[in-house]
């Protein structure tokens, strides 16, 4: 596979009277051709800065970037015609119609006028094309933004929060649109906070936190490599669950008791659980690894999981340190 987008060691520093802030601190990212790639990170982690830098809106302090094999920003104008993008909330001139908005963009970008009708049809705005944009809902503006990005039939489509403001039907339509585009050969980079959507749509992901990449790869690989070492334990009916829990805790396990089972959070070696319990003649009826989803991996990696009694501030995301498993 060839890389459509490559970022290596990207750095961006903002200096202000309050001091120096590293928005990007050696960030790396690779997106292969034909993939739908999820780009995830908490608020303020550097996602939008990365996209803006990639698209020539922000000048980086270091690192290298390439789109479709061409170094950017040096050769950005050569590849810009093959990159469709929306960055952050779509904003359009309220008094222009969707048709006008897209026609002006098409004219400025030397795109065939027929494309305007085609993309309006594609995003479901055909019947509202002649209405002023200021009469549109947020979801309709989002669709218009996607239409503007698709106008030039890009090879690489970069969408920042495309599902913002969409109703459930719209989210599903957007999901199938992304899939169809990827199947037609387009590479899609998708930044979103709806992790369930990312898990459904994306082939691969990059997770950024505090300006650095904390995970990358196929969704399955990221989930597998960061799957929690927790296991769900169910005992035979009638067995004293409290005694078993105390026994495991005495041996250093982190146990969370549920209604009819308990979970050992740091079970690096699940066999240790069965051994300890069996020595006291307590037998396990179910021992299953806790399945991780993208949300829990994201929260773990970015250190943004809510903690009771603490109000996390937006800049308080971190590169989570790997935790050692009990029993290993």
């Amino acid at each position: 596979m060839t890389a459509v987008l490559e970022i290596a060691g990207l750095q961006k520093t903002y200096r202000s009277r309050k001091g120096v802030r590293r928005a990007l601190d050696g960030f790396d990212m690779v997106v292969e051709a034909g993939q739908v790639h999820g780009f995830l990170g908490p608020n303020g982690s550097g996602k939008t800065t990365t996209l803006r830098t990639l698209l020539g809106l922000i000048t980086p302090n270091g690192g290298r970037m390439a789109i479709l094999g061409r170094e950017v920003p040096a050769h950005l104008s050569e590849v810009a015609g093959q990159v469709g993008a929306i960055v952050e909330s779509p904003q359009f001139f309220g008094n222009f119609t969707a048709q006008d908005t897209l026609s002006l963009l098409a004219e400025a970008g030397d795109v065939r006028k027929e494309r305007v009708t085609a993309v309006l049809e594609l995003v479901g705005l055909r019947d509202r094309a002649k209405d002023r944009v200021k009469t549109y809902s947020l979801g309709m503006k989002q669709r218009l933004a996607v239409a503007s990005a698709l106008l030039k039939e890009p090879k690489l489509l970069i969408l920042d929060e495309p599902a913002n403001g969409l109703d459930p039907g719209g989210i599903r339509e957007m999901r199938s649109l992304m899939r169809n585009l990827a199947e037609s050969g387009m590479t899609v980079v998708l930044s979103s906070h709806i992790l369930g959507e990312i898990q459904l749509i994306c082939d691969s992901v990059t997770i950024i936190s505090a300006g650095r990449r904390v995970a990358a790869g196929s969704v399955a690989d990221v989930l597998a490599s960061h799957t929690s070492s927790g296991v769900k334990v169910r005992l035979e009916p009638g067995v004293d669950m409290r005694g078993a829990v105390e026994l495991l805790r005495a041996n250093g396990a982190q146990v969370t008791v549920e209604h009819d089972h308990f979970t050992v959070g740091n079970a690096g070696n699940p066999a240790q659980i069965t051994r300890i319990l069996a020595e006291r003649e307590i037998y396990v009826s179910e021992l299953t690894p806790t399945a991780a989803d993208l949300e829990s991996v994201f929260l773990q990696l970015t250190g943004t999981a809510p903690v009771e009694g603490r109000n996390r501030q937006v800049d308080q995301s971190a590169v989570a340190a790997p935790t050692g498993g009990w029993g290993q």
Binding site: I58, T59, S77, N95, E107
Partner: protein
């Protein structure tokens, strides 16, 4: 070329541009109508009426003088009060001062050219500021740069579209304005004194008006682009008016600075449009036996005013281009 066409369409499609141009047209029509109705053509009957009025006032003043003389020479009155009494003459009541207003094209039209240029310059400034300011604040500029990642080309093309539009508008408005006032002069005044030299002078004045409009458009555009908001241009202008016109004007006159008016913007605009303006310092006295006390004078000429306009144009457009090239777009 496609970018230029798109930007011209974007500019002319804007409701703001259309409303401002409609408002300007209505104001200009109101001025023309006002000039039409307040002037009238002068013929033998108007001249006779003015002469009769002047003669009547002269008679009345003479009679009053004679009564006053008689009163001060009466027994018991103070004869010294007669000494300062002025006897009116026929020259004090000239018929031309009693003539109704008439539109002499050669004499009056230059003021109308200045009016047109000033109004169009104001509109060009506001439309120019709004054109780019709204693009920045609405995110349209960022959208466009995603399509055309050539910042200077994008901003330069926008400015070009604005300047070309206002060139066309100013030329068309000037032609119509001249035509309307030729009509007014023929119906309510005279064009008799117009020679080819006078027409050339009017044309050159309209050309200077065009330059004023274009510089105003570029300044509005440049300031709004620097501040990335329409309000930036309007704010700077209001600030400049307050600081330079009221604040600086007051301070300089209190400090009795020589030719304090030379620091005021309208003086330079008049110098530009009227080719020169003569400022005089009435606190000075250059005595000559022939002319008595003559004040010091400073003449501001149109090349000086042109240099100032060009300097401001280069400074603001240059700064906005530099900012466009080097500042992050966030």
């Amino acid at each position: 070329m496609s970018l230029y066409t798109a930007e011209t369409k974007r500019l002319t499609k804007r409701r703001f541009t259309r409303l401002f141009l409609l408002g300007t047209t209505l104001i200009l029509l109101a001025i023309a109508a006002g000039m039409f109705f307040t002037n009238e053509k002068v013929g033998p009957s108007q001249i006779a009426s003015a002469q009769a009025q002047a003669q009547q006032d002269f008679q009345r003043a003479t009679e009053q003088y004679q009564r006053d003389q008689a009163a001060c020479q009466a027994p018991g009155a103070n004869p010294a009060s007669c000494e300062g009494m002025y006897q009116p003459t026929q020259d004090d009541f000239q018929a031309q001062w009693y003539m109704p207003p008439t539109f002499d094209f050669r004499e009056n039209f230059p003021d109308m050219v200045t009016t047109l240029a000033a109004l169009l310059a104001l509109v060009a400034f506001i439309v120019g500021a709004s054109f780019v300011g709204a693009e920045w604040s609405s995110g349209g500029m960022m959208n466009l740069l995603l399509w055309r990642p050539q910042r200077l080309q994008v901003l330069g093309t926008k400015l070009l579209a604005l300047l070309v539009l206002f060139t066309v508008l100013t030329v068309v408005y000037s032609a119509i304005w001249t035509g309307i006032f030729v009509g007014i002069a023929e119906a309510r005044g005279t064009t008799d004194s117009m020679t080819s030299g006078a027409w050339q002078s009017i044309a050159l004045m309209e050309l200077r008006g065009l330059a004023l409009v274009l510089v105003a458009a570029a300044i509005g555009f440049g300031l709004a682009s620097l501040g990335r908001h329409t309000a930036m241009a309007l704010g700077v202008t209001i600030g400049a008016v307050i600081v330079f016109q009221f604040g600086l004007g007051t301070v300089l006159s209190l400090a009795k600075v020589k030719f304090a008016e030379a620091y005021l913007i309208p003086v330079w605009m008049i110098a530009w449009m009227d080719k020169e303006i003569k400022l005089e310092d009435y606190n000075s006295c250059n005595y000559s036996s022939a002319g008595g006390c003559q004040p010091d004078s400073l003449t501001l000429t149109w090349p000086m005013a042109g240099g100032l306009l060009a300097g401001i144009f280069v400074l603001i457009v240059g700064a906005s281009m530099w900012a466009m090239r080097s500042r992050d777009i966030t």
